[in-house]
Symmetry: C2
Subunit: 428 residues, 2 copies
């Protein structure tokens, strides 16, 4: 089978399996992202090792021309497609971040998010150090993976137990959105600092001059990004006047890709941060709805399934045996640190003990952002593959325990079980 036929078959299989697994997860009361990641693990080297199958493993003599020899291996190709997908996903996440709503949910949500970012970061790093990882930067990076709560999983679970419109529910959702932003900020700082230190003073120390340089570049990037943000509306308005097909969406894509590129090339922060920033800025323009409607369908039907399955293709559960202690502890730290960090700060911000516990439990689930951060670390050689695999397990387990734990701490209400996955999927 020629390379391109393999690619077509692989795309069919990935989309089919991801969506079926997502639907199956829904049947057993889990969010669809849980099923998609688990399906990826099953297709990956952990169980079936799909890319090792004869049909995908070798490029047979299907092509006869001089071009045939240049055919690509499938795993890096899937990874490139998934990476483009992640940039699109983060752009959509930025598009759908409601800055006004974030201000509205206010004080308690902000502090819950803050506690739920700091404590997992600190305890995650401490756990990593306890197991022999250097604090700079592997330890801190592992902590960073634990920071961001999954909005989509929290929202879906709250809907399913009928607590979507409760005071605690609103706080959880607000905090989950805010801690995405915080998580991305932490990632940006860590990536920038890690680069500065590895470039100047080796892996274990920090050079003050390099730090200042990096700080300057970060400020330069975000300053320029914000300043250029004012140009987005006129640029897209101009694009819409060009009379070529899909000009506004094409303009928005160019902006997203350039912001992502510049984030890493100019600002020393992760490309996905740039895509997110571009999304937030485009969301302030009159073109938000058009761009979102244009980019959302193919992103969620093709690129996002590719991303989730590629997570499983890159992870290897078989490697976890040797690090079982670390993995189990990391999962426990991920759960406890979120409940305590978010819960205690919600209590300090004025919620009573029961409500604070609910908020803390509602923040447990991790999802896309954690996986994106872990994938970034793997690709850039910051974390080894076994830590990546452990991070995937953290996402799976925290996702799995959130619904039953939420049911435990929330009073049971009937009715309100609504199937509106589509509207939730709009959130990161």
């Amino acid at each position: 089978m020629s390379h391109f036929l393999q690619l077509l078959l692989l795309l069919s299989l990935v989309i089919l399996v991801a969506k079926l697994a997502g639907a199956l997860a829904g049947r057993i009361g889990q969010p669809s992202v849980f099923g998609e990641i688990l399906a990826g693990l099953i297709l990956g080297p952990t169980v079936l090792d799909m890319l090792g199958w004869p049909v995908f493993a070798t490029i047979s003599g299907g092509g006869t021309g001089s071009e045939a020899g240049e055919a690509l291996p499938l795993l890096p190709l899937v990874r490139d497609l998934a990476d483009v997908g992640v940039v699109l996903l983060m752009f959509v996440a930025g598009l759908e971040t409601d800055l006004v709503e974030m201000r509205r949910v206010g004080r308690v949500a902000f502090w819950s998010a803050f506690g739920g970012v700091v404590l997992p970061l600190v305890l995650g790093a401490a756990t990593a150090v306890a197991f022999g990882f250097p604090l700079y930067w592997q330890g801190i990076f592992i902590g960073t993976i634990l920071t961001a709560t999954s909005v989509s999983i929290s929202a879906q679970t709250l809907l399913e137990i009928g607590a979507f419109r409760s005071r605690e529910g609103a706080t959880i959702l607000g905090a989950a959105v805010i801690d995405d932003v915080m998580g991305i900020l932490v990632l940006s700082l860590v990536v920038a600092l890690a680069k500065a230190s590895s470039g100047a003073a080796g892996a274990s120390g920090v050079d003050v001059r390099a730090l200042l340089l990096v700080g300057g570049r970060i400020v330069l990037y975000f300053g320029a990004a914000w300043a250029c943000g004012r140009l987005i509306t006129p640029v897209l308005r101009w694009a819409s006047s060009l009379g070529v097909s899909q000009a506004v969406l094409a303009g928005a894509l160019v902006i997203a890709f350039l912001y992502a590129w510049a984030a890493e090339y100019v600002g020393e922060v992760a490309a996905i941060t740039g895509a997110y920033v571009a999304g937030v800025l485009v969301a302030q323009t009159p073109y938000k709805k058009d761009v979102d409607a244009g980019i959302h369908p193919l992103t969620y039907s093709m690129f996002v399934p590719l991303f989730f399955i590629s997570i499983g293709l890159q992870a290897n559960g078989r490697e976890l045996g040797a690090h079982a202690g670390f993995t189990v502890l990391l999962v426990l730290v991920a759960i406890v640190s979120k409940v305590v960090g978010s819960g205690v700060l919600a209590r300090l911000a004025g919620f009573d003990a029961r409500a604070s516990l609910r908020v803390g439990v509602g923040m447990i689930s991790r999802g896309e952002v954690g996986l994106i951060v872990a994938g970034y670390g793997l690709t850039n050689g910051i974390i080894p593959r076994d830590v990546f695999s452990a991070s995937v397990l953290v996402v799976l387990v925290t996702t799995m325990v959130t619904p039953p734990l939420l049911r435990l701490v929330f009073p049971r209400r009937a009715g309100e079980h609504v199937q509106m996955e589509e509207s939730i999927a709009h959130h990161p």
Copy 2:
């Protein structure tokens, strides 16, 4: 710069340049596809050799991990993305093929299309043979490249000269759609027969038994494709009940990719034929609008620009010097054979001489389908790169001469100059 940053920069540049070039082409009275292909040629080895620039040519030591070494070269990656884009494009083309309309425009359109397929096929092959190419299968394949008229270019030009709703205009559009289908059928037969002959009796002869086998496989594929078509509505209805995001679109994508895969793997016809068939079948279901609305924006804003630019990246105008005679003659044959083939059969089918000339001239422009056929031939080693480059020139020149020639043969009418590139871009 790391591999992924190169990819982000390349995607930004490709989309930006393609859309700007498309808009510029519109300003000088050319369809946007003309500008996009020309921009690709300029970016490609013919002029600027973009992928040879230091920023794209080498993977510097940006990645530090074990993954970095697996980074892909950019040209095959762009080609894979463009190939996925072509499958999506042909699927959209199928989606938007109106079988009812094709029946309605009737007899004259059908015979114009027929004449405009047969004569270019025969004369193109004869030209190739005269220049020393073997008839089987290079000659016939070169003829095949000349068969399909570009609907989008014809439609845009007719709009611009205010002849969109004339009797000749409707006939041209109908014939252009019909000859797309005929062109794809010819391509399917040629590919299948070429495979059969190269497998059995060498490149210059045809083995009757192998032919029968291929015929059987073609019948099997189209039979199975049609039979499975009845299942598409229930499958998509079932998908829409799964409660996962973008399930219908994901289902349609899986169908498109599987039909494309099976076309080549089972039916021995080109994968793009399968994608087109899937599109025609999905168009018969109640989900046509949803699928089209979901797949159209990102296809036309990202994948189609990638396809047009990749055409230019793969062609090399500098090679044409040595084959100037062949190239010039091929361009002339492309123009004359279409005018004569379509015009004479329109006359025989009942149009008067003036109307027949208008129909013939309106069918000159070639576009996406010709490029797709040529790209298929290049990738599968059926035609060498210089013939591919000559084919790109055929598309450019026929596109360029159609608008002024149409203005010459149509009576000048005022007004009606409408900017509706978007609605036309919906057609193949």
